[in-house]
């Protein structure tokens, strides 16, 4: 596990500065020029927080504080942060199992997320969901789903709900490039297009469905499959947060204002294995990973743009990074100190009726121990 075995300092802790520092071309898009300097700094901060959170979680995993799977988002931060930064109050998000970035992107705090990874009762799902199942319905975040492509019909349902209630909103249904060959995804495309549902399907194409490259798994261009359903489609550079915002803005507006669905492929890259159990040594080269890190690291790209714009100073960048590391450490301490759920908690949160006995209408046994 070459990447995993190194301490968190390996990846982009101090990557070579991508030369030369210059504003991204997408910085001049109206959706980006509308951002106040403080808002731009906040976006950078969220990306850095995702990375430091995940690096801290990886150390906890290696220390056996976290069980099960841990699918890291490192390298893809601009996608979730860019997309979630565009959310209005009637916009909703659902994603697959690589869900930590979206959770922080919609505004969830580190503490309940880290506690969830630790399996603690203070976790966002009370320790019942784990890494793949983060939820925050109060922030319009509907998970966190473990089965490849299985969340996409739910995303269409969110769009259906938005439309049925007469709201001007959009559902963003995220999936990886490995999900595009699942039947449920195609059924979802059809329903969204057939009924003009305000759903923007976002394919986060990191190049690999687990260990199988796109070339070995998927025929044709991924987003162009939308053409068969008469849907708008496009490709966005996912390394550039400004480009993500500029590209997604148009699709989200069309969804909100005209109830038009779209399929958007956002090209990105993950630095770590599919999960941390992936030794990541059989299907791609270290040189390939290093090349992305060196030239396309989304945090570095955005940081450089902000430096060139005069919005960010090196000192502030360092401060943001230090604060993110400290916050991640605090979340690990919080998780460590939190209690586990008890065996008595196993059977709560199964049925609404069982959890609300005073309002229960049904009779008979719900559980069969």
């Amino acid at each position: 596990m070459p990447l995993v075995s190194q301490p968190a300092a390996s990846i982009s802790d101090q990557p070579a500065v991508i030369p030369p520092a210059r504003p991204s071309p997408a910085a001049s898009a109206p959706i980006n020029t509308a951002l106040a300097p403080t808002a731009k700094i906040a976006l950078l901060r969220t990306m850095v927080r995702i990375r430091r959170f995940e690096e801290r979680s990886l150390r906890a995993y290696q220390a056996k504080k976290i069980g099960g799977f841990l699918h890291l988002y490192i390298g893809q931060e601009a996608v979730a942060v860019g997309c979630c930064s565009l959310m209005g109050k009637n916009d909703h998000v659902i994603t697959a199992y690589r869900d930590h970035g979206h959770a922080l992107g919609v505004g969830m705090e580190m503490n309940p997320l880290m506690a969830e990874l630790y399996g603690k009762s203070t976790g966002c799902s009370k320790g019942k969901g784990g890494s793949m199942h983060f939820f925050a319905p109060d922030k319009n975040y509907w998970g966190g789903h473990g089965i490849v492509g299985g969340q996409i019909p739910l995303g269409v349902g969110l769009a259906y709900g938005i439309k049925y209630k007469g709201l001007k909103g959009a559902a963003m249904a995220f999936m990886g490039d490995g999900a595009v060959n699942q039947g449920a995804v195609h059924e979802s495309y059809n329903l969204a297009a057939l009924w003009s549902l305000p759903c923007v399907f976002v394919i986060e194409n990191n190049g690999y469905s687990m260990g199988t490259s796109q070339a070995r798994s998927s025929a044709g261009e991924l987003a162009r499959r939308a053409e068969g359903y008469g849907m708008a489609h496009g490709v966005i550079d996912g390394h550039d947060l400004y480009a993500v915002r500029a590209g997604m803005d148009a699709y989200l507006r069309a969804a909100r204002e005209q109830s038009k669905p779209a399929v958007v492929e956002i090209r990105t890259y993950r630095y770590r294995g599919h999960s941390v159990a992936d030794p990541d040594s059989t299907y791609r080269s270290k040189a390939e990973i290093e090349e992305y890190r060196r030239t396309k690291d989304p945090i570095q790209v955005f940081q450089n743009s902000l430096l060139a714009e005069g919005v960010l100073t090196a000192a502030l960048a360092e401060q943001i990074d230090n604060e993110a590391r400290a916050e991640a450490d605090v979340s690990a301490d919080f998780a460590e100190a939190s209690p586990y759920p008890t065996p008595a908690d196993i059977q709560s949160d199964v049925y609404w009726e069982a959890d609300n006995p005073s309002q229960r209408k049904s009779q008979g046994r719900l559980f069969f121990d």
């Binding site: 969901g129 966190g144 739910l154 269409v156 349902g157 329903l191 049925y351």
Partner: protein, 325 residues
């Protein structure tokens, strides 16, 4: 009281709940313009319009998952499966998503969805269209499973299911759609998880549900006339939650039990019932618990033989006599 069919009873339940709650929508294959593959939803499109009564493409995984996603936002979809047999193409949505979302979110998300449609054999449509998945569904904590046998039960239970905040799976029967029964007028609900003693007796308890209730009642008549045996028929009505207390009370009275189910026997609903009865009423039993199920093979097409594969009054009568030996 009015005399209406099982089909009409379901339709009335839908219409009343559509009228009562604007969040209720009906979606499924052929439910709107076609008036329902089995005419259950006939006239609803005309009355409630295309935003409430929605034809879906043949796309069960897509539209069931879509209904579930909408339910998370507070819509209350009633999804029709043309046959419950098609649940297998939407299995991930039904059992990974509907059954688990509440739990995995730590109780933050409710899924007030109803999935309904027929689940039965006996219509000579072969193995793919004759599944009775109530045992498979009920194996998943988080869901509720309802199998009504009469028009009154169908109406009262469906109304309760639509108002329930947990995912409810409602299994009807194509053979019963035309059956007529007395149904109370108005807003009458039957709680989920409440069994009904359809016939009182003293010698043998038959525990059953769905169409097998009717077969069991017919067998009970024969047993009384021809053998002077008094049979109590307990209709579970709901598989999960389960009213085991009514079953145990009957066993305490008769001391003999026959379970009758239109289920393949291995790991069936009856398997669970037999375990619970022996565990909780062992001392009340005067003999082993007997069970009559579907003959253990895929559903045969051949019309006269399918009748013999399923429970029927004659098979039940024979099984009842064996249980009393």
């Amino acid at each position: 009281m009015s005399l209406i069919t099982y089909r009409e009873a379901i339709r009335h339940a839908l219409a009343e709940e559509l009228t009562r709650d604007a969040n209720v929508v009906v979606l499924g294959e052929e439910v709107a313009q076609f008036n329902g593959a089995y005419k259950v939803t006939e006239g609803l499109l005309e009355k409630f319009g295309p935003s409430r009564i929605v034809d879906t493409p043949i796309s069960e995984a897509g539209f069931i998952g879509m209904g579930l996603g909408a339910s998370m936002l507070g819509v209350r979809p009633v999804m029709e499966l043309m046959f419950w047999s098609f649940y297998s193409v939407a299995f991930d949505q039904i059992l990974n998503n509907a059954a688990n979302v509440r739990y995995m979110s730590g109780g933050q998300i409710n899924c007030p969805i109803v999935i309904r449609g027929p689940a039965n054999g006996g219509t000579n449509v072969g193995a793919t269209h004759s599944h009775t998945p109530e045992n498979v569904l009920a194996n998943h904590p988080g869901v509720k499973v309802i199998v009504p046998s009469t028009p009154a039960d169908a109406k009262g239970l469906l109304k309760s299911a639509i108002r329930d905040n947990d995912p409810c799976f409602f299994l009807e029967n194509t053979v019963l759609y035309g059956n007529i029964g007395e149904v109370p007028e108005g807003d009458i609900l039957i709680p989920l998880g409440l069994a009904d003693v359809k016939r009182a007796g003293t010698d043998l308890t038959i525990v059953t549900y769905g169409r097998c209730v009717l077969h069991s009642l017919a067998a009970a008549d024969l047993l009384e006339k021809e053998h002077d045996i008094s049979v109590e028929v307990v209709d579970l009505r709901t598989i999960r939650p389960l009213d085991i207390d009514t079953v145990l009370a009957s066993v305490t009275k008769t001391h003999r039990v026959l379970i009758v189910e239109e289920q393949k026997p291995f790991s069936s609903v009856g398997s669970q019932l037999a375990y619970m009865i022996q565990r909780e009423a062992f001392d009340e039993l005067d003999g082993p618990i007997h069970r009559l199920a579907t003959v253990d093979a895929p559903a045969i097409y051949s019309p006269p033989v399918e009748t013999e594969q399923l429970p029927n009054p004659q098979r039940i009568l024979t099984a009842a006599l064996a249980a009393l030996e």
